[in-house]
């Protein structure tokens, strides 16, 4: 009996010691000094996303934790459609994470004073020398007053026409159209039975996604929805009106699926229910994930627009102003943009690494050999213009997108004249200033 009691006592003590050491979160370095265990909170829509994106970010964060054993990254998965709302509420309630991912809305957070300038925290010389213009020009523009750098890009991308060659063969279409009018005709021709020629976001009310297609067409036609010299909206510019008119024509021709969200029509592209979409380089990985037959039946094309301009974006990491571990957070965001992780990024996700120094001729040749369709993305990389220019005040950008989407809805669903609709949209958007 006494022996059993002694065993129980020894076992309990063992468990207690182990638990206390674990809970203390402390570990000793080589000199026997205790090193503080730091936990960085990092929400990102890539965590839990599944597929390539998750593979890349988890691998990168695992490697970071292995290199800095005293820093633990608390990975917070928030789906993209809930991400901004949750982040805003977390910041407003004083519960902001240490590091967070941002997109075209960076300026809003800079203006609100929610972020930490990185100029003294990261190697700015490396940034200036080795990163693309999306980092060196777009990011400082988010700080309209002083031009400081508040974020470091971890990926970038842009949109090109993607199509399923087998469907073109079936319909006897030999060449991809080179003008917007020919593009509309092609979409009509490819629409038959259960298949649509083209797809764009026309889910009423979803102005955030709608704007992407509107910008693709506007930028391709040579314009933009922002007057970059003043930062004011240019919703009544001829290119915007033209873009709206072409999309309306495609919609009315029945060449695009209706009431269909982006996730669904991307899947329809993978299953050959949509022949053409204008989307990013990540679509290849996504399409194969949904339908393996897409692997040998996937091609990119030159834009059907009069210019080669494509809207590009950079997704960035930034350190929140309230973080108590800014230096460690800076280590993390630099790690995710280092040579090794950027190389992994392009190899796993096909996204363009903003660290252009990684994009060597050797790597490009290797990528093209693996994915011939990728060549065109490489060729267009220098033609990307910022999709959401930071010259427009950050806090107004979302509102301008909503106004644009609202009047686009009126064109699509209430047959409002595109020029009149865009005039009203411009008037309403200008009133915000």
């Amino acid at each position: 009996m006494l022996r059993v009691l002694r065993m129980v006592l020894v076992f309990s003590l063992g468990v207690l010691v182990a638990t206390l050491s674990f809970a203390a979160g402390a570990q000793e370095d080589d000199d026997g000094m205790e090193e503080e265990q730091i936990v960085l909170r990092y929400p990102h829509w890539f965590f839990g996303h599944g597929g390539n994106f998750e593979e890349w970010i988890n691998g990168a964060v695992d490697a970071f934790e292995a290199e800095y054993p005293n820093i633990q990254v608390e990975r917070e998965h928030v789906p993209y459609d809930q991400y901004w709302e949750q982040l805003d509420i977390a910041i407003a309630s004083g519960n902001a994470p240490d590091v967070a991912a941002f997109g075209g809305n960076l300026a809003k957070y800079v203006a609100a004073g929610a972020l930490t300038p990185l100029n003294d925290l990261i190697d700015m010389e490396d940034v200036e020398r080795n990163f693309s213009a999306l980092q060196t020009e777009l990011i400082p523009a988010a700080d309209s007053e002083e031009g400081r750098t508040f974020a470091l890009a971890f990926d970038s991308g842009f949109y090109l026409p993607l199509y399923r060659p087998s469907l073109f063969e079936e319909e006897g279409i030999r060449e991809f159209p080179t003008t917007p009018d020919a593009f509309v005709d092609m979409a009509r021709e490819l629409t038959a039975g259960d298949r649509y020629g083209y797809a764009f976001m026309n889910n009423p009310g979803n102005y955030n996604e709608q704007r992407i297609d509107l910008i693709i067409w506007t930028v391709g036609l040579g314009g933009h929805y922002v007057d970059r010299s003043t930062g004011e909206p240019a919703l009544d510019s001829p290119e915007v009106i033209q873009a709206v008119t072409y999309l309306k024509e495609l919609h009315d021709a029945g060449a695009v699926p209706r009431d269909t969200d982006k996730g669904t029509y991307r899947k329809m592209f993978a299953t050959k229910n949509v022949a053409v979409i204008i989307d990013g380089m990540w679509m290849h990985g996504l399409a194969i994930g949904w339908d393996e037959t897409a692997a040998g039946d996937f091609e990119t094309a030159d834009t059907p627009f009069p210019t080669r301009r494509v809207p590009g974006f950079a997704e960035v990491n930034a350190i929140l102003a309230d973080s108590e571990h800014k230096e460690e957070a800076a280590l993390l965001i630099q790690y995710l943009a280092n040579e090794e992780q950027q190389r992994r990024l392009v190899e796993i996700t096909q996204l363009i690494p903003p660290r252009t120094s990684v994009f060597t001729d050797e790597l490009k040749a290797d990528l093209i050999e693996r994915w011939p369709w990728y060549e065109r993305f490489i060729a267009y990389a220098d033609d990307a213009v910022p999709m959401d220019p930071n010259e427009m005040p950050g806090e107004l950008k979302v509102e301008v997108h909503r106004i644009w989407g609202k009047y686009f809805d009126r064109v699509l669903f209430e047959d409002m004249d595109p020029a009149e609709a865009m005039r009203l949209a411009q008037e309403e958007a200008t009133n915000l200033y």
Binding site: I89, I91, P204, P257, R258, V398, D409, L412
Partner: protein, 301 residues
């Protein structure tokens, strides 16, 4: 003398009832009055979600902006159509099903169970089901409408204001009619059966029995039900947001949707709060009107 009265007034017994209701009062104050006062104060500022500490007093500017906004008419029309349409449909359909279930027939228990199921379905699940049923290409409802020749091709419910609102009302009706049905059925069962028997002996038709016995017998229940339904429809957010997000072009943006959109999607808490205060005022007006029209007359009777 005065001191005696005061002492008696403050005696233990006389204070006891107040002590009993104090916890409830504190809860109501904490959960209702303080947020309302804060919302009113916020509505007078330009506060944004990310800069709550830097709010500036702007007076009635948010209210002026809302009442002069190009979306104002659309939002008010959408709210009225949704509330009036939703309440009427729920009441009429609830009455219809309650009348059926009030009769004796084989399998009445099973029918009651089945008819009440929609009420137990979470709103998010309900919206997904309806979105699939209404899908232009694969939706089962669209298939039947196509077969019946009522719609052509890939009919899109969410591409025009009237059909988008109809779709929302259908989903809302499916969710809410069991509530109407249950309350009205309970009311019907409290009406003495003798009244119907006497009426039958007197040769009253079914319609006359409904008109002169059932409807008057349900007056009190109806007034409570209508108030409950009106308040619920005013505040309903989930179904509309998940189905249309207020689109197309604000045609289904009710006041609640419009308030949420500005407060949380566009980060304009001050403006969103102003719309919230407008909702509160309208709801208060309806409640007061309701009490004047229904409750007082019922009490007098």
């Amino acid at each position: 003398m005065n001191q005696q009265i005061l002492r008696r007034g403050l005696s233990r017994e006389s204070l006891l009832p107040y002590a009993y209701i104090l916890p409830a009062l504190l809860v109501i104050a904490g959960l209702l009055f303080i947020p309302i006062v804060r919302a009113v104060l916020m509505s007078l500022t330009d506060v944004r979600l990310l800069s709550i500490g830097r709010a500036r007093f702007v007076g009635l500017a948010n209210y002026v902006e809302f009442f002069t906004s190009p979306s104002f008419t659309r939002v008010m029309v959408a709210t009225l159509v949704y509330v009036i349409g939703g309440v009427s449909l729920t009441y009429v359909f609830g009455m219809f099903t309650a009348l059926i279930l009030n009769r004796d027939f084989l399998g009445r228990g099973l029918a009651r169970t089945i008819l009440i199921v929609p009420w137990a379905v979470p709103q998010v699940v309900l919206v997904i089901i309806w979105q699939w049923m209404l899908n232009p290409r694969y939706g089962v409802l669209n298939y039947f409408l196509n077969v019946a020749g009522l719609v052509e091709g890939d009919f899109s419910w969410f591409s025009s204001a009237p059909t988008a609102m109809t779709a929302i009302l259908l989903a809302t009706l499916w969710k809410q009619y069991p509530l109407g049905m249950l309350i009205l059925l309970a009311g019907m069962q409290s009406i003495p059966r003798e009244l119907y028997e006497v009426a039958e002996v007197d040769g009253a038709s079914a319609l006359q029995r409904f008109r002169y016995i059932t409807l008057p017998g349900l007056r009190y229940i109806t007034s409570v039900l209508l108030l409950l339904l009106t308040i619920w429809h005013f505040g309903n957010f989930t179904i509309i947001w998940l189905m249309t997000q207020g689109g197309p072009a604000d045609a289904t943006a009710t006041l609640t949707i419009f308030s949420y959109l500005h407060a949380f999607k566009l980060s304009r808490i001050g403006y969103g709060a102003a719309i919230g205060v407008v909702i509160l005022c309208i709801a208060l007006f309806i409640t007061v009107l309701y009490f004047r029209l229904f409750v007082r007359s019922l009490q007098q009777e």
